[in-house]
Amino acid sequence: MIDGLPASRTVGHGYTYAYLDEQTKRMIRRAVLKAVAVPGYQVPFASREMPMPYGWGTGGIQLTASLIGPSDVLKVIDQGADDTTNAVSIRQFFARTAHVQTTTRTAESTLIQTRHRIPEQPLRAGQIIVYQVPIPEPLRWLEPRETESRRLHALQDYGGMYVKLYEDIARYGRIATAYDYPVLVNGRYLMSPSPIPKFDNPKLDRMPALQLFGAGREKRIYAVPPHTRVESLAFDDHPFQVQKWDQTCVLCGAGDSYLDEVITDDAGGRWFVCSDTDHCTRRRDGGADGGDRRP
């Protein structure tokens, strides 16, 4: 038997500011405070079902929804770019539900939600960067059971991770982890920096901005307070290294930014362009030229 919808459920149903109800925001905010107090430790939280699929940024969205206010200026990036489809979708969501000003400019933003990159322009004190995290547990690939990895964190038993990295060196002559490269926060907790390329890892260290990490499906929140020591795991004889390209960006000529590779034909031709679209735009606005060789 089907009844009609009550009026409150029909079109125009008013969701609360920033979508989440106040009780949920309080729950998330309390978890954020604990996360900040125990840097790098993953705080379990009662992640809600969001109107976006799990795996598409629900953790970051819940964090942003609990943080955001009308005076914020929001930037959303995916793969470093403001105009990828999911970044557009998330930005629209907050523009609509939180009546917030949005920007593509890193420097103008107060709140940045990101997937897979840290902007090239150094973040400043007072900014907050929210990372979308698919698998928050850095030990997951060594030990799939949460019950076990939780115990390893409690004992600060990270020997297994060093062994894994060392096996890489023995086998390949180098550490074969290119992104989601594990870090040690303030000398205590091993942490997944989310799947950012290891190129971005040095930016995590002593960043003046507050870094928050949200994993919706895995129901975890963690944080790195400003100015906190974040070390990428390494060995004395195998120091941590980042990616570097021989090429420069074809649009702005940048030689110090993370580059995306674009295949241009079926004969092995390719270009490299800045992954960070704001960085690239700013450089070009400033007169930089990559000597664009495109047809």
């Binding site: 919808l5 009662a46 793969q79 105009d83 629209q92 992104y179 890892n201 980042v242 570097k244 992954s275």
Partner: protein, 380 residues
């Protein structure tokens, strides 16, 4: 200017319009009504309500229509709506003993108080396509009511056996203790049985079916009997604080399954039958039965004397594995997130792979050109 996925907003808008167009199909064909979905695709509605965790046939039908019949997507739509609803309180445990049954079968006793009642089932139909259904026509002949069946008292089989001690006594009614809401509290492991059952009730039917099946094939040590499956409507009672007594706030249709398994006993417990429990909204026997099998399988530790040192012997007995992967909405989201751009990570892997190939001196590795030198990190 070159950007790979430029024009996001317009592209997204157009994608939604294309999807809506595909949903409607040929406008010459009459549009589905929610009443039609609710009345004629009721198994789909029941599944969406069960896994959506919200008993609302109207909204479930709407979700099914909106999702073009993709039930996992419909479950997701219903969940995302459910999450915004306020909580008024926890109902008292359902009195399924007092169910107005429309179907009730036991595989363990030929006859029993209340009798066997086949009810609406396709169990014994021959699975031949009924081409008559391809034509719209007259409704089927109504079934004349059978006197005295549904009116008689219908105690649950496990209750009848419990009196003899042959089946474990059901856990005592707990109004307060176990009303932790899985959707409002993060799951901590090991989870209690009440929390596990919540997760299984919301769990994907296909996943539970496969797990339940695996226990029957020997991946697990259960030898189940379907003590009872009953379907019908039960009242929901809420204890209103101001009144001090429970009031009926509505009635819902459910399917309940109790599986019983032989159990050798432990030092503390005599040999007896132990049970697994399944409950689903509406008519959902497959789900309820699979859930009961998995529930029983997950009780292995408790029924082996709580030995923490032992590890689960089968996938269906592995609480963390089952609970972490049972949810179709979580699974669907994460599997499908692979559609999102990953070119930053891919580029990182590409760069690494080229370097490893160059290290290995791979022959014909023209690709090696693109790899730059890896520079030591410059620490400011």
């Amino acid at each position: 200017m070159y950007v790979a996925v430029k024009g996001g907003e317009r592209a997204i808008g157009n994608a939604h319009r294309l999807y809506a167009e595909a949903r409607r199909g040929d406008p010459a064909v009459p549009e589905l009504t929610l009443e039609q979905i609710g009345q004629q695709l009721s198994h789909a509605v029941d599944r969406v309500m069960t896994e959506g965790g919200l008993y609302d046939p109207f909204l479930a039908a709407l979700a099914i229509k909106q999702a073009r019949g993709d039930l996992v997507e419909a479950i997701f739509l219903l969940r995302a709506y459910r999450t915004t609803l306020p909580r008024f309180g926890a109902a008292r445990p359902l009195e399924t003993d007092a169910m107005a049954v429309s179907r009730r079968i036991s595989a363990t006793f030929k006859d029993l108080p209340g009798g066997q009642m086949l009810g609406p089932t396709a169990d014994y139909s021959h699975r031949l396509l009924d081409f008559a259904l391809a034509e719209t026509g007259l409704p089927p002949e109504p079934v004349p009511p059978v006197a005295g069946v549904s009116e008689s008292s219908c105690p649950r089989v496990t209750g009848l056996l419990a009196a003899t001690g042959l089946v474990e006594a059901p856990p005592p009614d707990s109004d307060e203790a176990d009303t932790t809401d899985l959707t409002r509290t993060p799951l901590a492991l090991p989870a209690g049985r009440a929390l596990r059952l919540q997760a299984l009730a919301r769990g994907d039917e296909g996943f539970l079916l496969a797990l339940g099946y695996s226990t029957q094939r020997g991946f697990g040590t259960t030898h189940p009997f379907a003590a009872e499956i009953r379907m019908g409507s039960v009242e929901i009672e809420l204890e209103a604080e101001e009144l001090g007594f429970p009031v009926v706030i509505g009635e819902i249709a459910v399917t309940e399954c109790q599986m019983i398994n032989q159990f050798q006993g432990t030092a503390d417990q005599p040999p007896q039958f132990t049970s697994g429990y399944g409950l689903a909204f509406g008519e959902a026997e497959r789900k309820a039965m699979a859930m009961a099998l998995v529930d029983r399988a997950l009780r292995w530790r408790e029924l082996s004397g709580g030995d923490d040192a032992r590890t689960p012997a089968a996938p269906a007995e592995d609480e963390e594995f089952v609970l972490a992967h049972a949810d179709a909405v979580e699974a669907s989201g994460f599997v499908q997130h692979l559609k999102l751009p990953h070119y930053v990570d891919f580029q990182a892997e590409l760069e690494l792979l080229r370097r490893l190939r160059a290290d290995a001196g791979a022959v014909g590795c023209a690709d090696g050109r693109a790899a730059g030198a890896e520079a030591p990190e410059s620490v400011p």
